[in-house]
Symmetry: C2
Subunit: 225 residues, 2 copies
């Protein structure tokens, strides 16, 4: 059910667009103007046919015999992914991981701006991390409204994650990135993605056992739930 045009972009494609985007960005300084699907595929670590199929969902703006105009392609992907706008983010749970994320200057670079931090621990509230003051998690609703937060990052212990998610959803947040290990129940229309260390390690463990089967694991975040 696409918002504007008739084309529907497959989930698998969506999860690869950021990779292409990154690779293209890395090629903007090099004087290159165009890039072929072959080269892009090589840099992104995927199959060239896949690149062409993926990009064809965005429209047909490659030039046969030449390739894709890098600037234009960047612009199109950015538009499709919504990277042309600003997404204010909040991080909930400023422990080991939350603090590292807050200090991470690197995704703030491209539209994702951490605008608030929240924690339940009163001894942490008021402390400054990465120039932001940690606020009490009881104020979460207020914070989200004040800052027009659209994306929330949960880095609390697993036991608290559902509560926090409920509050966030209540406050109108529509996208959640969850670092706690459990599953989150959210209403339709709210997107959740999970990053789970333990899962990743366990998958590696599996392939370690079956070593030499040529299966390279595979990058994250791609598949359907």
């Amino acid at each position: 059910m696409p918002t504007e045009s008739g084309r529907r972009i497959p989930e698998a494609t969506v999860s690869r667009l950021p990779q292409y985007y990154r690779v293209l960005l890395e090629n903007t300084g090099t004087g290159l103007v165009t890039i072929s699907s072959d080269r892009l595929a090589e840099l992104a670590g995927v199959n060239a046919a896949k690149v062409r199929k993926d990009l064809s969902y965005l429209g047909s703006f490659g030039t046969r015999g030449v390739g894709y105009d890098i600037e234009y392609l960047l612009h199109e992907i950015a538009r499709e992914l919504g990277l042309t706008q600003d997404w204010p983010c909040v991080i909930v749970g400023i422990g080991n991981l939350g603090a590292a994320l807050a200090n991470y200057r690197g995704f703030g670079a491209r539209g994702f701006r951490v605008v608030a931090l929240a924690d339940a621990d009163s001894s942490k509230v008021g402390q400054k991390v990465a120039d932001l003051e940690i606020e009490p998690v009881t104020e979460l609703t207020t914070i989200c409204e004040r800052e027009k937060v659209t994306i929330a990052i949960i880095a609390t212990p697993q036991s608290e994650s559902q509560n926090v998610a409920d509050t966030l959803v209540e406050a109108g947040v529509k996208s959640i990135l969850n670092f706690a290990s459990g599953m989150l129940s959210v209403p339709d229309g709210v997107a959740v993605r999970k990053v789970d260390l333990a899962t990743e390690l366990q998958i590696l463990s599996f392939y370690q056992l079956r070593n030499g089967n040529g299966n390279n694991g595979s990058a994250n975040g791609t598949g359907p739930s």
Copy 2:
């Protein structure tokens, strides 16, 4: 090309086994002895038929009319994922993220033990993080051999990640969890999994644009590269 039996476990199934494992673990204290595919599916946030299909790849040890014996199922999944053995891990790049990972007591719990830390910054070398002394990255080969490292976690800047990976592969490491954003080229038989914040956020951004399409994003780590 499975190691022992004739059954081959699909990649998609492998990436769900850790979820089942976690859910089952959370149900060991509750006095419950068995669990039905329905209940397990609900707790893991997937379809019941999928649970049964997945588990059927491990063999048929459910009891019709009753469900699966929790202890036995845990044991079987652990065996399949190789969680019955110890996997010594090294973390390379002890910055914001690397330090958070090193301090994280939680995956050390189940077979994954961080046994060494390495960094290129000489001012960090010798410091202690989580009771481990940071060693120079130039010693990486020695460290891997000394500690019999099988899984490496890369948390260096992206620019260094390929170099580090090459060294690790050289030293015989067969599984890499990469937090840097780029792609890693590794020989066949080495598994790489990637955790990329920027990618996750960008995917969320996409679904934020197309809001209300009923697509919940979907959990990570499932899909093929």
